[in-house]
């Protein structure tokens, strides 16, 4: 029985640009169940980043309701958002976003630190996470000493450390070459097969095809929402 993790209903995000009104998200309704691997695809300016910020609890919608794991996120304060991000979401960014002056262990520990876990537990879980991505022996290194692919693996380890309900990957392969991209995508698939819910934002249709479901955003609206095979078919048809 599928249990919804993300429930977006009539989400509007409207920016005021001078006198002009920009509807970055123009009435989005979307449900993502636990255990799904969904790609949100769209061109730049389509509103997919805005949607990702809202799903990631980095921002709140102008109107509409957003339930994340049954919790009402759309009216939360800054600190409440920080708290729910910490508890529910593991972020994987395009630019990795690791702290350059901290070593890998400290980087992976960071979400656990803000979850106020005791030091021993923090380090144990961070090490497990690093092991998971095959970088445990490099825990003393700093991000700058690693390749891009390795850094992305560290950021995946950091996303996993908090054992989140949702892994939110923003262009996870955007800064990587095709081989390391392949590795990262395979790893995400593996995580999904283990039961993790993954939402991946990308502009690249070929990357989107790695997911099980694809949601395409155009001009702030969803214009495709369906199985990856159907998506592949319409792409094939040149649409």
């Amino acid at each position: 029985m599928a249990e919804p993790l993300i429930e977006l209903k009539d989400i509007y995000k409207i920016y005021q640009m001078g006198t002009e009104e920009v509807r970055a998200n123009d009435g989005i309704t979307l449900t993502i169940d636990r255990g799904e691997f969904v790609a949100i695809v769209g061109k730049s300016g389509s509103g997919k980043s805005t949607l990702m910020n809202i799903i990631g609890a980095l921002d709140v919608p102008t109107s509409g309701s957003y339930l994340l794991g049954g919790e009402d996120v759309d009216q939360m304060s800054d600190d409440q958002l920080a708290e729910i991000r910490n508890r529910m979401i593991g972020f994987i960014f395009q630019q990795y976003n690791l702290l350059p002056k901290s070593n890998l262990l400290e980087n992976v520990e960071l979400p656990l630190l803000y979850a106020k876990l005791p030091k021993e537990e923090r380090q144990e879980r961070a090490m497990q996470s690093l092991e998971r991505v095959g970088l445990a022996e490099k825990w003393k290194n700093h991000p700058g000493q690693l390749s891009g692919g390795q850094q992305q693996r560290v950021s995946i380890a950091r996303a996993l450390a908090g054992n989140p309900s949702l892994i939110l990957a923003d262009e996870p392969t955007g800064a990587l070459d095709s081989k390391t991209s392949r590795d990262v995508l395979d790893f995400l698939k593996e995580l999904n097969n283990e039961g993790n819910t993954i939402v991946m934002i990308t502009h690249d249709s070929s990357v989107a095809k790695e997911a099980r479901r694809v949601v395409r955003i155009h001009d702030g609206k969803i214009n495709f929402n369906g199985d990856v095979n159907d998506y592949a078919a319409i792409i094939q048809a040149g649409n």
């Binding site: 980095l58 920080a82 991000r85 972020f91």
Partner: protein, 391 residues
């Protein structure tokens, strides 16, 4: 909290140059507060001490005796005897300029005064040899004298050898009947130990002046100095009918005005140093703002991963406070060392005042907190999306 301290120290350490420049303002500010206040204090206590050695319980009277209006020694004594409750001692003081000699050795800076038998008691000094000048000496104009330890040492080698010897004052032979205890640790020409006292009757004769113009009173109660001074003034006014013909000076009043003057100077200098601390605070704020801007991305990452406002806030405030406290400690060390060094060179007993240390340290920490607050709250309020987007 502990984590924030570690982070702060790490951040300060990884930006050594910048942190040091930030601290420099605090260091200079704190050091200058300590140096100025401590040195002024040392100077103040030095001044106070030298004034006290002159006798804070003394009131000196100077007058101009005219042929038509004058106050005689007898009249002064009568006044004194009427007011023995207020005044514990009184003596005429007749200064004689000249040199003292023993054989070919002579001293010219020695202060030679004709005084009464009361003078030793007035000074509250002791003799190490012999006796002081007595009433009979004054009546008989005996050529006897009491000399200071320095004079005894210089002219005879020791107090013991000087005793009962003859000393020449401007060619007149005087017998040394007493040698006073040493007053100063380091005796020198013109110092407190370089003196000769003789009966004032002899001094009057040597000075070829019929009238005695100077008197010194010792008061019994310091807290009434001004009151007793007025008493003398009233008496003199009655005699002279003209305020310009006499001056009455209470040492304690001079000390008071000296103290208040020094306190004012001290406050003024402290204030200027305080302003430099304030400027240093603005420096801290400036650097912290730069630091926040520089680390916008880091703040974004931390916030995205679940850092609450208070956590970010704490991190930056603590960093500012730690920076300025380290600066404060260095400033205290530097200030204390400089104070001692300058004190040693200037011959002052200068130690950093605890008050100056405590105040300047807490001010520097306070400045760190105060001026760190604004940048920190700016950091805490950053939107994680914007912060992550910045390069």
């Amino acid at each position: 909290m502990l984590q924030s301290f570690k982070l702060a120290i790490k951040s300060i350490w990884s930006n050594k140059m910048r942190s040091f420049l930030t601290m420099l303002g605090i260091i200079i500010g704190v050091a200058s507060v300590i140096i100025l206040v401590s040195l002024v204090n040392a100077y103040m206590s030095y001044m106070t001490e030298s004034f006290s050695s002159l006798g804070t319980n003394q009131i000196t009277v100077n007058m101009v005796n005219l042929p038509s209006r004058s106050v005689s020694v007898d009249e002064m004594y009568r006044f004194y005897e009427e007011h023995t409750e207020e005044f514990s001692h009184m003596t005429p003081v007749v200064s004689v300029s000249g040199t003292v000699k023993n054989g070919n050795d002579s001293m010219s800076a020695t202060s030679i005064n004709g005084v009464s038998e009361d003078y030793l008691g007035l000074k509250d000094w002791e003799l190490q040899y012999g006796r002081t000048i007595q009433y009979a000496d004054i009546m008989a104009r005996q050529k006897v004298c009491v000399i200071g330890a320095y004079v005894a040492n210089e002219l005879y080698g020791s107090a013991e050898k000087a005793y009962d010897e003859t000393i020449k004052v401007n060619g007149y032979a005087f017998k040394v009947v007493g040698v006073a205890e040493q007053q100063e640790d380091a005796m020198e020409d013109g110092g407190s130990d370089d003196f000769l006292w003789m009966p004032y009757s002899c001094a009057v004769k040597m000075a070829r002046n019929a009238n005695i113009n100077n008197y010194t009173f010792a008061i019994s109660d310091l807290s009434h100095a001004t009151e007793y001074k007025t008493l003398i003034e009233d008496f003199l006014y009655e005699k002279f009918k003209n305020e310009d013909l006499y001056t009455v000076t209470a040492m304690s009043e001079m000390l008071d005005s000296l103290n208040s003057m020094i306190a004012m100077v001290s406050a003024g200098l402290g204030g200027i140093a305080g302003i430099s601390l304030l400027v240093a605070g603005v420096g801290v704020m400036n650097i912290m703002l730069v630091s926040v801007t520089e680390r916008t991305r880091e703040i974004g990452i931390r916030k995205a991963l679940g850092a609450k406002r208070s956590v970010i806030m704490q991190q930056f405030v603590i960093e500012a406070a730690v920076t300025s406290s380290i600066g404060g400690v260095i400033g205290i060390l530097l200030g204390s060392l400089t104070t001692s060094a300058v004190g040693a060179v200037a011959g002052l007993n200068a130690t950093p005042t605890p008050a100056a240390v405590i105040v300047s340290f807490s001010v520097s920490v306070g400045i760190g907190l105060l001026f760190g607050y604004m940048p920190a709250s700016r950091a805490a309020k950053l939107n994680p999306i914007d912060a992550l987007r910045s390069e």
